[in-house]
Subunit: 366 residues, 2 copies
């Protein structure tokens, strides 16, 4: 079918609406597919996409954004990625405002994800990014933990019990047979509500509210996902963890914000998601380049040479990648198409006579 | 009213939907307000915002984006701006695909504009950006032409008769009493349809299809808005224009894409919108920094010292600013609010129990 032919033009005309997937649509998909199934699919896709990743096929510039202290401490970032094969660009807008829960009863992280057709620049879809962000961050930790964590890990530690901790727990529990979950949050209501919030996962595992020090000393795998302030980290120091401790450092994603002590990083194999980005806003801020290991994608590609790391101290420095957003967006868009969920709207002015922005006024006169 | 108080929380809850202004909504506003009135309001606001601009209040990073030659020659860019006073971030996504009209009967430029609340990161509104982009580009040329153009300008030249030329003509005709419009397009159907496309503006002015050389030689004010290819410019050379010619160079907005001959630039006072950006993708690509004049905003602020330029050769190197998008978005949002136009939707997952991304599943079970 020749580009420019009537068939292609008609086909494009049929595809010039933009799909809107609201928060309710995203929830509907999770309900229908099942929350465990969605997480399993996401973990599998994350693993497969990471292993097959090519920087010729996926062009992912470092994210950029505004950060500020007025009117609130906050940050709004844009995370773009271009998928050459699928002729698509994805842009995630993501905001981090740690006062949201306290001041506005809102999630700390708000987000939307949009996809564009590189044939025409058309906005193909826009969707809620809040739940997808939490899910994909969990899935990435699961993939990293499978690679680096001790296979017999029985104790999972969670420092920070906000929204992200739920999906960390969920994702990891799909791959490991934990016997004990140890958790801590500096905010008493967040800590006391955690077991209730996690209960519906039906994990059949013992939950123990604990101290940071006890958690660090006892965990096989640890996830840190706190809102510790800039220049207020690390969360702990001078605790002797297990030799094989694997940490998913999720919370450090802002210049000056760190969660882990430098001493732990120095004795661990530290794998960032995006080295350049992690050096600016991740745990890698604390490290010289020579002390940073290979990125997580490179590590996955050479997993059979890294088996020994399962017995050693490791850190996944997870700052977040647009690639993960693309994986979760693709999954939801696939389910949305299969289930006929979402609404198509004419958002962009694509149906105008192409060389007259005022053509709609002419039509009125005829 | 204290932040964190029940009143503020309720107020926020009422504002957590996102306003969607579709292409049809934007058209509806233009129809109701009147196309001339919209343009006049936009020109006035553009002038006022430029004159009052402060880089402490408006933080506008250089735009960034992807450009490519496959599957089509194209470019998708993001243009962010932070308005400190109004606690807002605006992001315009804009795509330029010169084959769109020919291959898909679509506008060359597709676009959406979104605004975010810097208190929470919430997406306040998303709207069509196609018509707003054309309008604001016209308004910027009008403001620049008022500053630099000869007050008795009678002949307007238009090279490139696509969508942008219509709003250039419209905007400039609101400020000048033209007696003759000379136009040219390298595409015969675009050229032959131009008068019909422009007729509804009811300008009562004579239109003359002409050659580039005649247009350059005869114009008092000239607008170039072509899709000339990378490394295929300039559009003309060795033509002697009037001494007071003012050019709005609109089309050059891509590395390697230029419309004007270097000799004309060198003998003109060249004012870019954003010097750093124009040096990469505007006519200023051809110039050393020493040959570039002050930016358009600085020039407007010192207009009384620049009266002499009205008699001299001048160029407005218009690559496009997020500030212009903010001005046009504000205008449409104001009218939308007054007229109760647009739809509010829950796009982001803001209504979940703030620390449990799966809370919607819990509700199902109760």
């Amino acid at each position: 079918m020749r580009v420019g032919s009537k068939e292609v033009k008609d086909q494009m005309k049929n595809h010039l609406k933009s799909l809107v997937l609201t928060a309710a649509n995203i929830e509907q998909i999770v309900e229908k597919v099942g929350v465990d199934q969605i997480m399993d699919q996401l973990i599998e896709r994350t693993y497969n996409v990471f292993v097959e990743f090519s920087d010729q096929e996926s062009i992912m510039p470092i994210r950029s954004g505004f950060n500020y202290t007025e009117p609130k401490v906050g940050l709004i970032e844009w995370m773009p990625i271009r998928d050459v094969t699928h002729e698509e660009i994805l842009m995630k807008m993501v905001a981090y405002h740690p006062d949201n829960p306290k001041d506005y009863q809102l999630p700390t992280i708000l987000s939307t994800i949009a996809t564009y057709d590189t044939r025409t620049g058309h906005l193909k879809a826009i969707m809620d990014g809040v739940l997808p962000t939490a899910l994909r961050t969990g899935a990435a930790s699961a993939v990293a933990s499978k690679l680096f964590g001790h296979p017999e890990s029985r104790v999972l530690g969670l420092i920070g019990c906000g929204a992200q901790s739920i999906t960390q727990l969920h994702a990891l529990s799909r791959l490991f047979k934990f016997e004990k979950i140890m958790y801590y949050d500096s905010d008493a209501p967040t800590m006391s509500s955690f077991e209730n919030r996690a209960a519906f996962l039906n994990l059949g595992i013992a939950f123990h509210g604990s101290s940071i020090d006890e958690i660090v000393a006892s965990s096989d795998i640890l996830c840190t996902a706190t809102s510790v302030g800039v220049n207020e980290g690390p969360l702990f120091s001078n605790i002797q963890p297990k030799d094989h401790l694997h940490v998913n450092a999720v919370g450090s994603d802002f210049p000056g914000k760190i969660e882990l002590p430098k001493a732990l990083l120095l004795k661990s194999y530290v794998s960032p998601d995006l080295p350049e980005q992690a050096a600016i806003e991740g745990e890698c801020q604390q490290l010289d380049a020579k002390d940073v290991g290979r990125d997580i994608i490179s590590c996955l590609k050479m997993a059979n040479q890294l088996e020994h790391l399962k017995q050693e101290s490791t850190v996944f420095d997870s700052t977040g990648m647009a690639l993960e957003d693309q994986i979760v967006a693709d999954l939801f868009l696939l389910h949305a198409a299969e289930m006929n969920i979402g609404e198509y709207i004419y958002l962009e002015n694509t149906n105008l006579e192409e060389k007259n922005p005022y053509s709609f006024l002419l039509k009125l006169k005829h």
